[in-house]
Symmetry: C2
Subunit: 388 residues, 2 copies
């Protein structure tokens, strides 16, 4: 990457602050003529826009320029097992329009992705942006994904998706960069960008039918060697029951504390809980059995999170997902065990909090993943035709 390329210069402008040509020359040490030429290139892409004039120091006041996140849009998609959220955002991660829809991931990739494209097109029409304004598309899937290729790898609850070329299919509708990742990874990205941008070590835990985590270490999302990092659901609960798990092992966290496991425990007490939403409703209505069951699930999750705390030493753990909507009872169970079981050094500044993105963590993260890619020095240089 040439240090004097338009892409490199643009990185300085990502913070949105207006700057003059002289500011940029002083910061970079590049020649004024080089800066002026790069500014022209960036203005032509629309990603840089004039923002007025700086105070004059005598003579004509110099023009200022800033990153214009509204120049292009992103289609952000958060696919769950039984529903999806699709949003159109700008490059700064602001949601311009969004829609949630019921769909079954088990229907297979073609019908699901075609439906996503349909909804995305409707949202673009709604905000009055042509499809040519789409800079990229970000997709979260409820299973492991090989991030480099965008293909799911052996996803346990996504029949027909194993190895499917998601970017190729979506690329037929939107010929733009298409980035795919595990849903919990993009939730971690979204919560981090929107709520905790200054925290370097954050764990986002999704508690729903399955249980998984997205890991931000040293400010960066950690995917692991096969994109399988953060799979909390199949960790053996310390000292836990030996409940059989769909993965073939015994005593996995998901088998003792996932939404269906809590529902099964309540069924033995004569309570029918057909869904995670029904479980949350029961707790909100003050049902004691449901409250006790969720608090106990929190303790089991806490036992595994205590291990995560000793291993990763995060400063924030965010709890999200459909069951997390049960609120403080779940958090109380988690905190109880984490603060008992983890080392004092690792917990002295640790916060365990509920997600604050109101179900939007996934689409916000998908948008951030795309913005990170399309605004990188390489992509900007390709755009201005000076890549080398």
């Amino acid at each position: 990457m040439r240090p004097n390329s338009a892409g490199s210069l643009f990185q300085l402008l990502r913070d949105g602050q207006p700057r003059t040509r002289a500011d940029l020359a002083a910061t970079t040490g590049l020649a004024r003529s080089t800066v002026a030429a790069r500014i022209e290139d960036l203005l032509a892409t629309g990603l840089l826009a004039p923002t007025g004039e700086a105070a004059s120091t005598g003579g004509r006041p110099p023009a200022t320029f800033a990153f214009n996140p509204r120049a292009r849009v992103v289609v952000a998609v958060d696919l769950g097992v039984s529903h999806a959220r699709v949003a159109v955002t700008d490059l700064g991660g602001h949601v311009l329009a969004e829609d949630t829809l019921d769909l079954a991931i088990a229907d297979g990739p073609e019908p699901v992705l075609d439906r996503v494209v349909e909804v995305a097109r409707a949202l673009l029409r709604e905000v009055g942006r042509p499809e040519s304004d789409v800079a990229g598309m970000g997709v979260g899937l409820p299973g492991p994904v090989e991030h480099a290729s965008g293909r799911p790898t052996s996803p346990p609850i996504m029949p027909g998706w194993d190895g499917f070329d998601v970017p190729a299919r979506l690329g037929e509708a939107f010929p733009v960069p298409i980035l795919v990742d595990n849903d919990v990874n993009i939730m971690a990205l979204g919560e981090h960008e929107a709520v905790w941008p200054d925290v370097d070590d954050l764990l986002f835990v999704k508690i729903a039918t399955g249980i998984g985590a997205g890991i931000i270490s040293d400010g960066t999302l950690q995917r692991g060697a096969q994109g399988a990092a953060g799979d909390l659901g199949h960790i053996a609960v310390p000292g836990g029951a030996q409940a059989p798990c769909r993965c073939g092992n015994l005593g996995c966290l998901e088998a003792v504390a996932g939404g269906p496991a809590v529902a099964a425990a309540l069924r033995e007490q004569g309570l029918e809980v057909p869904s995670n939403a029904a479980l949350v409703d029961l707790i909100r209505s003050g049902n004691l059995e449901a409250t006790l069951a969720v608090r106990q699930a929190g303790r089991e999750i806490g036992a595994v999170l205590a291990t995560c705390v000793n291993l990763l030493n995060p400063s924030v753990i965010v709890i999200g997902g459909a069951v997390a909507a049960a609120g403080e009872h779940l958090l109380a169970g988690i905190r109880e065990v984490v603060y008992t079981r983890s080392l004092p050094l690792a917990t002295q500044h640790l916060r365990i909090v509920a997600s604050r993105t109101a179900g939007r963590a996934g689409v916000l993260g998908a948008a951030a993943m795309v913005a990170q890619h399309v605004l990188s020095p390489e992509q900007i240089n390709a755009l201005v035709g000076s890549a080398d």
Copy 2:
């Protein structure tokens, strides 16, 4: 950081390949005159050296330059509970001289660090390098360290060291950058640099009196929010015994599988095992009880590592430390449980191997940590006096 600074240019030369001024101008897009001036600055530091001439394309053949790792040396220190290893290396991590010594970390920081300084000075004399050649000093300590300040934080087995300003004390003898980290973190760095440079996700596990891990994710050492990441020793063993641990909890990995725990189990069978070295000797001599005990310890460690695998998805786990010298019996116990308990996706390409640095992982990592710092753009710019 100015993209056209000497420090930025030097990063291109870190790989040691000889380059001409023209090569560098072409790669960076900088003006020939700028490149020539930066080369002069870097030559003056000695870190860049002339390496001859490239093939001529007509006229005088152009001069080539390359990073000279022998220009300066590093003092690398790996402090254990009862011994230390001190080495003098070049900036490329090649050991020029080294010494191991018996010392008790419990004697407190002043006597221990003074002894380290004494040995370092002797090694410098041995290799005939003046103290002014020392570019930096790297130190590993057997406890949690706040890396930014170089101070141990609540180390459980280092009386007198809590909050001690290690860099200040050593800086009295060597007025150079002094970087301090947890010993397992630097072992992970050393094994990664020396043996697995192309692996992005690696876990180094030290099994000795204590048990700990250094985590490399996405090519970078992960320290966590308080520098406490990788503390495997106090993770609760899944389904494990409830042995009391010195940390105040029950069933910690260290309490069931650390060197002293194995020795205690053997003592109940009438075998006296006074040290980790004695345990290793027993196993090498073919003692069945000791072999069975170490294999069982491997299984307990494997249960916790299975959790690490699901959480971090590394592609290599390196087993090191004094008990690891017991060899294949320990590894067999670990592999047995990891491959049973972790998800197939995370284990399909996973290798679990013994350390290949023959006890040198710590000093190699300390040297790498220092080289990374003193060769950074900022430090190089400070050296040539063009920092801004």
